[in-house]
């Protein structure tokens, strides 16, 4: 985006710039998170919930270094995706044809969802911290790690429903988002919702290592973040042009 020279020092220019910085945290930290994901020894294939306790303990004992590398990276960089969701909040608040109740609900749900995203890695790291613990205890930590990592999709489901509703109601002459983004947000919510089954089922596609709970859920989320990066880049470009900040 080319910022106009005469708009260089205006507050509205800074508003665009800070959103761009928040947005560009996605490719940088998204790439780091993909590396952390690929590095976790228990994701390819995902660990089976049917592993007996002594095998779970052995997994943490044998893979200490990579588990730590992967989960410390998640810990440090996972919440760096939050600024992008805050760009979505700011853009929802630009919608002229509604009250912004959706935006505040979205913001509240985003914060709650982030607390859970920030929690799961601690359980993996605690299990890896003293793998010589009683295997029953390592398995308990492992269960909680997986359940808290995979199952709590309620926040993102609500966020995407709110985003979709806001986009559908933003039916003035200058909508902030293209309308297909609403359909896409809905589809992502539908794809991620069944992953709550990870807290209940120990076998099949809904178990935490299953096709639906693990691959569809994580794939849909990663794709959503990537797609929203490009969507928001376009949205910010339009905002900058509308406000006379760029051309």
């Amino acid at each position: 985006m080319q910022i106009l020279a005469e708009a260089e020092d205006l507050p509205k220019t800074a508003n665009i710039r800070t959103q761009l910085i928040s947005l560009w945290s996605v490719p940088i930290f998204g790439a780091i998170l993909l590396v952390a994901f690929a590095a976790f020894p228990g994701f390819f294939p995902p660990m089976s919930p049917d592993m007996p306790a002594n095998q779970v303990a052995a997994f943490y004992r044998d893979n200490e270094a990579m588990i730590r590398f992967s989960m410390i990276t998640f810990n440090l960089c996972g919440i760096m995706l939050l600024p992008m969701f805050m760009v979505i909040v700011v853009q929802m608040k630009r919608m002229a044809t509604q009250s912004h109740a959706f935006a505040y609900c979205y913001l509240t749900a985003a914060v709650s969802g982030a607390t859970l995203f920030a929690l799961a890695d601690i359980f993996y790291l605690t299990a890896a911290f003293r793998p010589d613990r009683n295997p029953e205890l390592v398995m308990l930590l492992n269960d909680m790690a997986w359940i808290i990592f995979i199952a709590p999709v309620g926040a993102i489901v609500a966020m995407n429903l709110l985003l979709a509703a806001a986009i559908y109601f933003d039916n003035g002459p200058n909508p902030v988002f293209p309308r297909w983004v609403g359909h896409y947000a809905l589809a992502t919510a539908v794809a991620m919702a069944p992953a709550v089954g990870a807290a209940i089922f120990r076998t099949g596609p809904l178990a935490w290592d299953g096709g639906v709970s693990f691959w569809l859920r994580n794939g849909a989320f990663a794709l959503f973040v990537a797609v929203m990066f490009f969507v928001l880049r376009g949205v910010l470009q339009r905002q900058a042009v509308d406000e006379g900040v760029a051309r």
Partner: protein, 252 residues
């Protein structure tokens, strides 16, 4: 910058360039509040058996038996809760929205939002994860089931501060507001919510009696006051929606 200052008042004039906000979105969000709390009540009372809470003064085997006896309903109830918990964000967001319409500035609305967004984890999700983990493997060592029992119930009944902060912000906002978004007496009901959080402090110490986590004072007084407060809140949220002018400009 002048626009940012003038928008602090909720009775702001409509910008002639902006289309009216309409109220459909506020109504949709509003109806999620009773829907969510109805589901919440069914889940916690009828399915997960967390309300009224099972006793703290039982043996390890009795705690394990609690999980064995209620495994299926815990899975159904808390599975649904984990899926719909975003509704709590919506229920809190609509209150934030109306606090922002008051004449009290944004700070209390943001404090309400922040404290409740954090409170969702200790206040309702941690017990769900503890109970779901407990019934995930029924053959787990009963000592571990007992640990999850204590952790879940202490977290659920004993998460005090997030809610105290939220009620504090809400009460102050109502009292200082001149737009009459909510009646003043709702602030005093909200103050009683703070009192009930303080009455629940002994749950971390007391294993039986009125101050235990299932006790008449620590649990039941708080639950009855919360139920009354929530009913009032829903009624007055509806009223606030009704009274909001349809052509009010979007919030800043």
């Amino acid at each position: 910058m002048s626009s940012a200052v003038s928008t602090e008042s909720a009775a702001r004039p409509v910008d002639p360039g902006a289309r009216p906000a309409g109220k459909r979105d506020v109504w949709i969000v509003f109806w999620i509040v009773p829907a969510f709390y109805t589901a919440f009540g069914i889940i916690f009372f009828a399915l997960a058996r967390v309300m009224p809470p099972p006793r703290p003064d039982v043996t390890t085997d009795q705690m394990a038996h609690f999980f064995h006896a209620h495994a299926t309903t815990i899975q159904i109830g808390f599975g649904i809760l984990v899926l719909i918990v975003g509704g709590a964000g919506v229920a809190n967001g609509i209150v934030v929205y109306h606090i922002k319409r008051m004449t009290v500035g944004s700070v209390l609305g943001y404090a309400y939002m922040g404290s409740l967004a954090v409170g969702a984890l200790p206040g309702c999700l941690l017990v769900a994860f503890c109970f779901l983990t407990a019934v995930y493997r029924p053959d787990r060592d009963p000592q571990l089931l007992a640990l999850l029992y204590d952790l879940g119930l202490l977290s659920y009944v004993g998460s005090l501060g997030c809610f105290t902060t939220a009620w504090f912000a809400f009460a102050i906002a109502i009292l200082y507001d001149r737009n009459q978004i909510f009646p003043k007496w709702l602030a005093y009901v909200t103050v009683w919510q703070i009192v009930t959080e303080i009455l629940a402090i002994p749950v971390f110490v007391s294993k039986a009696g009125p101050f235990a986590w299932n006790g008449s004072i620590a649990f039941w007084v708080g639950t009855v006051v919360f139920g009354f407060w929530l009913s009032c809140l829903i009624v007055f949220l509806k009223k606030a929606n009704d009274l909001q002018p349809a052509d009010e400009a979007p919030l800043p």
